[in-house]
Symmetry: C2
Subunit: 317 residues, 2 copies
C-alpha cells in the first residue's frame, strides 16, 4: 500500500483479520453518562486478543504478506503491545517473529512476548541500538519489518475497530481515540471520515507526551523529548504517515494531566467493572475535562487496551 | 410465599424485575478454559445494577409488596450489597428504605448505601444491637423487613440469574455458585433442578467460612463462629429456608483456601479484564482446585458481584 488506506482497504482488512480477532462489544454506562452529561459508547478493545487493539494492525500486516515475503518471518522492535500482537499474528500464520526489546524492559513484558512464541533479542535501551539490532536480524534472516504504527497496513488494521464501532452506533457527534504513534487515531479518522463525515474525530493525548498536539499546531512533526506519562502506550511520537492522515482528518487533539488520566481510569474500573490500561482511559479523561464541549453529545470512545500491572496501580485509598 | 419458589415463581420474579435490572452477559474465556481443561460460562453479575446479584432479590421483594405494605417503606440490617440493593429497589418503587448498619462499617459502604437514598441508622456492631435497631424501626415506622437471604421472595429473585444463564447455555454439566447465606445458591438450585435436572449444582465456599459445608454434612445448621475470609460477601451463615433447599437440590459444597480465592480472582482480572469481588472468584477457585472432577466438562459459574475496594487489593507484585 503506497497511499493511505481507503474505506475499501479497511473493509478488506476487517475481512482478513475476522477469523482471528474478536469483534469487541460496545458498552454503555449510565452512571458515567450522568457524570459527563453525555451519551458515551465505549469500544472495548481491552477485551481484544492480546489485550489491545494492536492485534488488528499486526494481524492485517502479517496476513497481507505474500507466501514468499512471509517465508522468512517478521520482525519488529517494541517493548509493548505491538510486540505481543506481532508474535501472536505470526503464530497464527505459522511463521517466526523476532522481537528486539531493550534489556531493561520489565520482565512481565518479556515473558508475555515470549509466551506468544516470539524470539526475543535484547539490546541496550537506546533507539540506535534497537534499530541496529533490527537491521541485523533483517540482514541475517530476511525477516520482514512490521513497524508498530507508521505503516499503511497497520493503519488499515487499526481502523477496523472504528469500522465496528460505526456499525453498532449511529449519529455520533464525536469519536475520541488516544494518540501515541498515531496508528489507532489515523485509522479511526480514515474510517469515520468515509462512513460518517459529520462525526468529529478527536485525539486524546497526555499533556506530558503532547507531541501530536504540538505537531498539529506547528504543521510539522515535533517529536516528544523523553516524555514521561503513566499512559505508557502513548510515549511514542507520530510518524510521517500517521501525521499526514491526522492533519487532514482529525478535528483536534485535546490533552489531559496525569491526575485526570488516573481519575478517568479509576472511574471506568469502579463504574463499569472492567479493566483498562491508563492509555485507554485518556479518551474518557478528555471527555471529563471538557464538559461543556461534550455536553449532551453522543460520543464514541476507543478503549485501546487492558494490559496493566495489577500489582502496581496508580491510586491510594 | 410460604413454600419454596417453583420455577413459575422464578419466571414471575424475572418478569417483575425485568424493567429495572440488567440481563447480564454470559462470557467465556479461552485462556481460562485452557487453564482448567474445561468449558466455562461466566454469568457476569458484577455488571449488574448496584454491582451485584443482590438487586434481583431485593427488587423482587420490594415489587411483590402490596400498595398497603409498601406505604411505610422497607427496612433491613446489612453492611453489604443487600443494603445498597434494597435502597435502590425502594427508590425505584418510590418508597423509603431504612438500613441498620454497624457503626464500624467502612465509610465507603455507608456512602454507597446513602448514595442510593437510604436512611442509615448506626448501631453497635453486635447482632443483638442490629436486631434491636431493626425492631425499633419496624415499631416506629411500620416499615416491612426485607431479609438479605432467608426469604422466599429473595430466593426467587436470586434464582433469575440462573434462569438467564440457562437460557444462554445448554448441556451444562455443573453450575457453581458461591454460598454465604444461601440465597443465590438456593435460587440457582431451584432454577436448574426444574430447567435442567442433569446439571449438578455445586456450592463454592471459603474454607474459612465453611458453615454450609459442615451444615450439609451434619444434617442441621451449624452457624459459622466469627469467620474471617477475604470473601466478605460469604461471611453469613445459612438460614433455615435456604438450608432446606440446599439440602434437597445441591449436589455438594466444595471449599477453597484464601490463597486459592485470591489466585482465582487475579486470574479473572488478568485474563478476562473484568473486575470481580473476592466472593465472586470463589466459584472459579473451586473449579481450579478440582481439576479432575471438572475436566472436559461444561460449567456455568455465577460471578456474584464486582464491588471491591480498588485501593486495597489482595496481592503484591
Amino acid at each position: 500500500m503506497t497511499s493511505p488506506p481507503t474505506i475499501t482497504d479497511i473493509h478488506e482488512a476487517a475481512e482478513r483479520i475476522a477469523p482471528y480477532i474478536h469483534n469487541t462489544p460496545v458498552l454503555t454506562c449510565r452512571s458515567i453518562d450522568a457524570l459527563c452529561g453525555a451519551s458515551l459508547f465505549f469500544k472495548c478493545e481491552n477485551f481484544q486478543k492480546v489485550g489491545a487493539f494492536k492485534i488488528r494492525g499486526a494481524t492485517n500486516a502479517v496476513f497481507s504478506l505474500t507466501e514468499e515475503e512471509a517465508a522468512c518471518g517478521v520482525t519488529t522492535h517494541s517493548s509493548g503491545n505491538h510486540a505481543a500482537a506481532l508474535a501472536q499474528a505470526a503464530r497464527w500464520r505459522g511463521i517466526t517473529a523476532q522481537v528486539v526489546m531493550p534489556e531493561n524492559a520489565p520482565e512481565i513484558k518479556k515473558t508475555a512476548v515470549a509466551g506468544y512464541g516470539a524470539q526475543i533479542h535484547l539490546c541496550p535501551s537506546t533507539l540506535q541500538a534497537r534499530e541496529e539490532g533490527l537491521a541485523e536480524i533483517q540482514r541475517e534472516t530476511g525477516a520482514v519489518f512490521i513497524p508498530p504504527y507508521n505503516d499503511w497496513r497497520i493503519v488499515a488494521g487499526q481502523g477496523t475497530a472504528a469500522l465496528e464501532l460505526s456499525q453498532e452506533t449511529k449519529d455520533l457527534d464525536f469519536v475520541v481515540a488516544p494518540v501515541g504513534g498515531g496508528g489507532l487515531l489515523s485509522g479511526t479518522a480514515l474510517a469515520f471520515s468515509a462512513l460518517s463525515p459529520n462525526t468529529s474525530v478527536i485525539g486524546a493525548e497526555p499533556a506530558n507526551a503532547d507531541d501530536a498536539c504540538r505537531s498539529l499546531k506547528a504543521g510539522h512533526i515535533i517529536p516528544a523529548d523523553n516524555p514521561k506519562t503513566i499512559a505508557d502506550g502513548l510515549l511514542t511520537s507520530l510518524g510521517d504517515l500517521t501525521f499526514s492522515v491526522i492533519r487532514q482528518h482529525v478535528a483536534e487533539i485535546l490533552t489531559v494531566s496525569e491526575e485526570e488520566i488516573i481519575r478517568a481510569m479509576r472511574t471506568i474500573w469502579e463504574r463499569m467493572k472492567i479493566i483498562v490500561e491508563p492509555s485507554a482511559a485518556v479518551a474518557l479523561a478528555v471527555v471529563m475535562a471538557n464538559r461543556e464541549k461534550f455536553s449532551e453529545r453522543r460520543i464514541g470512545l476507543i478503549l485501546s487496551g487492558g494490559n496493566v500491572n495489577l500489582a502496581n496501580l496508580p491510586w491510594k485509598a
